[in-house]
Symmetry: C2
Subunit: 208 residues, 2 copies
């Protein structure tokens, strides 16, 4: 059974980008800091492979996934990866409405919700895991109870402000299990398995 695995770099105070100083939807002010564990690289995501340390393990696992799920914000900011995130695996881009121009390369816009997006990605990935990337799809997956694992690069910095990974979620408890912790110079690589929603969360959900 393949897993939906969220891959994200997050500051200790929970941000995945710095505060925006314009209409851009990029790293935000100082947000590049969160990606110091990666090599500078170029347009090709594969070119960002770290040169050493546990980041290489995490990176290689990400690049071994069989499909990608992301949101429009992340997709557009990343230059749509020129239609190929890695090895030509299908990319499913969750969006409210697809633009007129078709998605490039191996990408497909999905407009009928996160459940459909996940179903398509799971079917396409075969026995390989699915790489989930971006705060909006992460939150959508959590809300729908569809997230299996999280591989977080916890970066030793406080950004103070920016865009949070975990935001605007309902008060549902998700019990996690830390299944791997790798300590690198630039980040702590934490892999969590999503175990359950706790009784408090369920109780709240039923009453609202």
């Amino acid at each position: 059974m393949n897993n939906i695995v969220l891959y994200m770099s997050m500051s200790l105070d929970g941000f995945i980008s710095g505060p925006q100083d314009g209409p851009g939807r990029g790293f935000g002010i100082g947000g590049e800091r969160l990606h110091d564990w990666l090599s500078p690289g170029g347009v090709d995501p594969g070119s960002h492979r770290p040169t050493s340390g546990p980041g290489t393990v995490v990176f290689d696992e990400a690049m071994a996934t069989g499909a990608v799920i992301t949101g429009r914000r992340t997709f557009d900011f990343a230059g749509r990866w020129d239609g190929d995130h890695h090895d030509g695996v299908p990319i499913f881009v969750l969006t409210h409405s697809a633009p007129d121009e078709p998605a490039p390369g191996h990408a497909t816009y999905v407009t009928d919700g996160i459940e459909a997006c996940v179903a398509k990605a799971k079917a396409a990935a075969g026995d390989r895991d699915i790489l989930l990337h971006g705060a909006s799809v992460a939150q959508a997956c959590l809300r729908a109870g569809l997230l299996d694992e999280m591989e977080l690069q916890l970066v030793p910095v406080l950004l103070g402000q920016g865009r949070r990974l975990f935001e605007d979620l309902p008060p549902d408890h998700h019990e996690l299990e830390l299944v791997r912790s790798l300590e690198g110079a630039d980040a702590l690589y934490l892999r969590y398995r999503v175990r359950s929603k706790g009784p408090e969360g369920s109780k709240r959900s039923e009453s609202t």
Copy 2:
């Protein structure tokens, strides 16, 4: 030189208590989950010592500190520790205005700001570290550049909502160094040293 060390239990999504369901200022709904690494104990803080695992190390270090800094919210919620947090060390309670009744036992209200509070605690603690506890004093210390270390119990749960440890901070980058990571069944014990404010943060501070 003694250090100001923040001790807090935090969910992976950054909360130190669950959402409040009334005027209370306690753990919030489901927030007790964050303290599963401690023994149930009683009124005496010392009675919460974990029975085994790396939590015992962290707990013993906390109980070896020479002074306590906290805020009114935390102090009142904790029943003012009956005036004695541990071993009769002085407790400095940061507050905007002291109540009419004097602080019990070894506690003192400090109304002239975090800098004064830290100075008093450092002087009182001798060569021992100072235990800082509570979100408001943590944020005040970070804003003032007075925080030396953080000992966070990162709990494998998402609460979804609640009170955040890092909130309403200016966009100042604080570079951290992970100086210790201990993996326990109930939490990941992370000790960070506060290294610096990054150039992005400083730049923003100067322009605002």
